[in-house]
Symmetry: D3
Subunit: 223 residues, 6 copies
């Protein structure tokens, strides 16, 4: 039986926005190199960077009915995460649904399937990360779950987990860990800034990271 779970918790948007600023690669490192979705989930336009509270939605193959159900559950700051119950390339979301999502404060879409009307969604500035682009629309025969935990792009996503997405891909941050991860990401950024300066002026990573001795231990030989 398809289910809609109402009043699921969200992550504080200040934390969400901080994670967006840090970006996917940094957040991924900061939370112990976990949470990344499959790298074939790609943005339809670049550059793009956004974070939001996961608004989760399961769809039947070739059927986008539950996305309409999901819109009603949206809150400003959400990011829609859609996964089909079996692999499907159809274009589940187009410019009409994108307009509806924007009107409800949804910041973007991550979908392990296809989308269409990408020229219009690009003009609208509605950011989408999808497995493919397909003009194939969908039917409305089989509703699926809304706001239940799902697997999307090989990652486990619960409603209100933070989704961070940019040109490098998409990462999920557990709601309970979001503030801690943000702190770690900010520390990491600060640390990288000084490294960047040194590397850009030609210092070697071998020296900055003191790698030479450990490399010798691993048997690295110069000839």
């Amino acid at each position: 039986m398809p289910l809609v779970v109402r009043n699921t918790p969200r992550t504080d948007l200040a934390v969400v926005d901080g994670l967006a600023h840090a970006g996917v690669a940094t957040v991924h490192e900061a939370q112990g190199r976990t949470g990344l979705l499959r790298c074939d989930i790609r943005p339809i336009f670049r550059p793009a960077r956004v974070a939001g509270n996961a608004l989760t939605c399961e769809v039947a193959p070739g059927d986008n009915w539950s996305i309409h159900v999901a819109v009603e559950q949206a809150q400003p700051g959400d990011l829609l995460v859609v996964t089909p119950t079996s692999p499907c390339d159809d274009g589940y979301v187009g410019d009409l649904l994108a307009g509806s999502l924007l009107a409800h404060g949804v910041r973007g879409l991550v979908i392990d399937a296809g989308v269409r009307d990408v020229a219009t969604m690009t003009e609208m500035g509605f950011p989408v990360w999808s497995k493919t682009i397909s003009a194939k629309g969908t039917v409305k025969e089989t509703p699926g779950n809304v706001q239940t935990p799902i697997v999307c792009g090989g990652g486990y996503v619960r409603p209100g987990d933070v989704i961070v997405a940019d040109d490098d891909g998409v990462v999920v941050v557990r709601r309970e860990e979001a503030a801690t991860v943000l702190k770690a990401a900010q520390d990491r950024e600060a640390n990288e800034a000084s490294k960047r300066t040194r590397l850009n002026r030609g210092e070697l990573g071998l020296d900055i990271y003191k790698m030479r001795e450990r490399l010798a231990e691993r048997g690295l030989k110069y000839v």
Copy 2:
């Protein structure tokens, strides 16, 4: 024996241009959700939108000889559709052939294989939808059929069928049905315009499309 069929019928260019205006997703819906090519046939630059009469061409793997034969059969408003007789990623068409095609009024290219010189073809504004991009050129040893029905990108294409291509992909419209499909596409566009306005101002699809009762029948439960 390779064959060139001359004087095949075309679709009226006013209809062709109307279908280009409607776009791939709308045309696909308007003709009963049929005729779409595989979604891995992608444009080499975006945005791009074009429609034309299919000028069909079969090629041997790694051999573009019959494309030269096809150019002579071109008429203004045609769109070249090329399929290899077995899967091949080679770059069958580059800037020289693109210039030749443009000189004969050909509006673009759909090919279930690769193309090359994509930087130059982008500058020329010659729109191409291909399976891949490859610098690998081709030989001229084995001619294939020109202007016979072919399967390209999983779609059946006859000479003079209408090919509509944009950022969402490529769709084929049967010549005999082109005028009817255009009418249906225009009706659909008009219908969508009012929906778009309502969705953009926050009305729910659930209400606009009166989905609530039918969803309840399908067992959708809110918790």
Copy 3:
């Protein structure tokens, strides 16, 4: 035992730059249609065109340690070529390493794996050809060979071979043959220029290349 080979020979940069100017498709034809890497090695931004002396580097799956080792071996005009010892999509290079590579005169990167920080590398104008884009960073546990011959993208690459890369893909030119290939590429370009003019004004390839008789011999029939 991992090895770093020092003082490998390079190709004269005048030849390298000439090959960049000719471009991948022309160079590939000019050297007898050989040397092309797999066509799924794609640029992270377009347009891009560069050539350089191959600075080769093997990496373990999910481990970019030897890239740090490679930076020390770099000379101005080099182009880093990285291949994992088994297939891996991780993001081996990001903006920090790109900055370090640029500081050492490295012109770009070809990698049969993933990269990250593509938004920043695009802003920096650091050209990269990669199999994928992934935010997944790498560890530093297992060093690999630097400046030994490798297979990357299905092509055999030795240190100091010339790598030419543009929007069409990547081609390798043997160091010993680079000057000869440059000459052949320039001849080819000159020859193509006149063909281009004739094709652009509507002359048929069938006539320019005198194909009609040979096509008839192959049995081509017009109906």
Copy 4:
């Protein structure tokens, strides 16, 4: 509107059986190297070899309703050919449907999607060529066309065309050409038999096919 076309023509089963005997590779050559389906359509068990009259069926993604409709149209000697209207890996056919198809004289199944219960269908000896194997069953919400021309596995198939399938793949023979192709295939087999004997005792193809002179013309050099 979904359509069922009744009383479509079939090919004479004597011809069909002759083509099965010749096998896919020979039939493909005998009809001018055309008609092969994509090579990712593979048998679920080997060895397997069968031919039949195409009983065509279109299905919605994740929906096998029209296969039930197709069974009623079956005649002994048919081979069911199923294609989804957009790519889908679901398991459309299992042992129940296989039993039903066998009861109606259907000789096997070619499907550009998935099947399930492959252990049982293997025991039953019901031959299937499919794109994948998936335990995912299907719904019954959207009927599709039965006995209309379709594209399956990249090949164009009309009801009553002959489908020949074996361990090498699947080939389609036009109904009108089936007798001619059978004759050509039988000639080819006879011709190959003597070649086989000579090759098996060590004669070189270079001599049997008199290739040496033509190879020299193409510039082949021995060093």
Copy 5:
């Protein structure tokens, strides 16, 4: 920090064995068409059918260290489920580890990566479902989590969930629902038995499932 969780709950082996008997396709239907892994996770030999309590294990790319850690946590009736933290094709498990797993009562292996020594594991009758087969062994540098929830093959798996695997693929059953699902699966099998008999003697699904009226409502037309 890598973690090993000890003393995780298991599902009663009587239930586990009942689910094995029902098979993947039936179990998948019985639990509402959920829980299936990606269909590219395939058995290394056929026929094979097994069920067990999930013993979960995360591995770094190219590194099987934590599998050795997992063996110590094994209990009779377990089935090892392994997922890499980023996609990897390497052969993580060979005959030595298979022997060790068998010695500890582990019934089989599901892995979203590669395995090796498949000839020997086939002789041993150790059933494996993997994404690929690769002779590439792995290092022991980076341990991962053991007995924590993971995503494997696109499915969410917790320690002690039931894994059912056969020739059709792999399905996960939540520990809490295992007894209920088993009951539903057995009901389904009983129901299918009578259908099978009727279909095998030629009755049509159209009649058994009373589909004709509903098909007419959907507009199905016979011509």
Copy 6:
């Protein structure tokens, strides 16, 4: 210009046969985890195990002419290694060529493309490792190089290098290193035998390989 290099060196068949006995996984480890071909090069039947001296052959896409040229260069104990100059799935080798190869002492075939007549080649016991199976035959228009170094399946292969192939895949051993690698492989086998016994009777790898301390250093925690 296509080239045939005659009288290339071979590896002593006693060494070749020893490597076959060790098998691919062991040989790969024994030579420092190098030389493996891509894991999508798979045997057409299992079990299969063979080793031979590489007889190398380049082919144009869809063209097997140079394989006929290669047969003449064969010596007993050779194993034919074929690579297309651009990716191609066609069936380059069938039962006729297999018979010819066998007659000249060739032990098997590794090909980064397709083969056909796999049922017959299975009956003949002619072992083949290929990227795909396809009934699509090839033409004879463009000869390629024979007995020159090639890249096949992502591996660099020179004439007379040893190719070892079994159910796990294919590995290349440099001719100069073959005897050393054989010795290392035999040592490895002896070493593994005692490990196997201990693992099979339930000793833990953690203890046999003394991993506990190093795991603790890496931070592994039990909870």
